[in-house]
């Protein structure tokens, strides 16, 4: 690996570590059980390596579907091993497509009335 690639790798690792640190701190406060720094570092390392597996899987799924762009369909396959996770992801996908529809409505200029309609229905 070249020096340049090595550096981006390190930076990405640091970014992942930072976000995980924040997540752990929040959970530690919520459940009144703090995480040692070693645990945060271990979770970061695990997540980083898991990402490697996820990325290679996503690439293979996309290739199998004869695409060169990874789509939401491929992400659905990543979440196939756990029922709860795949349901969660399915809901997220619906949420995203709903948002896209809403933003289209916005450009059509009918947003306000419809949004209030939807809010009252919820």
């Amino acid at each position: 690996m070249s020096v340049d690639q090595e550096e981006t790798h390190q930076r990405l690792k640091a970014a992942v570590h930072y976000t995980i640190g924040q997540l752990c701190q929040k959970l530690g406060e919520d459940h009144r059980r703090k995480f040692s720094r070693q645990v945060v570092a271990a979770i970061a390392e695990t997540t980083f390596r898991q990402c490697d597996i996820f990325a290679k899987d996503l690439e293979a799924f996309a290739r199998h579907a004869k695409r060169s762009t990874v789509s939401t369909e491929d992400v659905k396959l990543i979440a196939r091993r756990s029922t709860a996770l795949s349901i969660h992801i399915q809901n997220k996908i619906e949420e995203l497509s709903q948002e896209q529809k809403d933003s289209k409505k916005k450009s059509a200029g009918k947003r306000k009335s419809r949004d209030t309609e939807e809010d009252s229905r919820e």
Partner: protein, 81 residues
Amino acid sequence: MADPDADIIFKKNTVSKLLSSFFKEDKTRLSSDAVLLMAEILKVFVQEAAVRSQKQAESEDCDQVDIEHFEKILPQLLLDF
């Protein structure tokens, strides 16, 4: 952070660069929805790791989550994802 209640998530840019750096072929691209979903999956992964470690620490009556607790939950965590 300005809003303490705001959801902590991985930045879109980070996830996109992270995944791209692991792709074997350079021409593989990511759709923006796929990036958002992967950020969500990674968040769930980290939360699972953290909460399971906390549960393990709780069952051992420890006030702090230590590496040994994480070690114990790691195999099942990896099998679940």
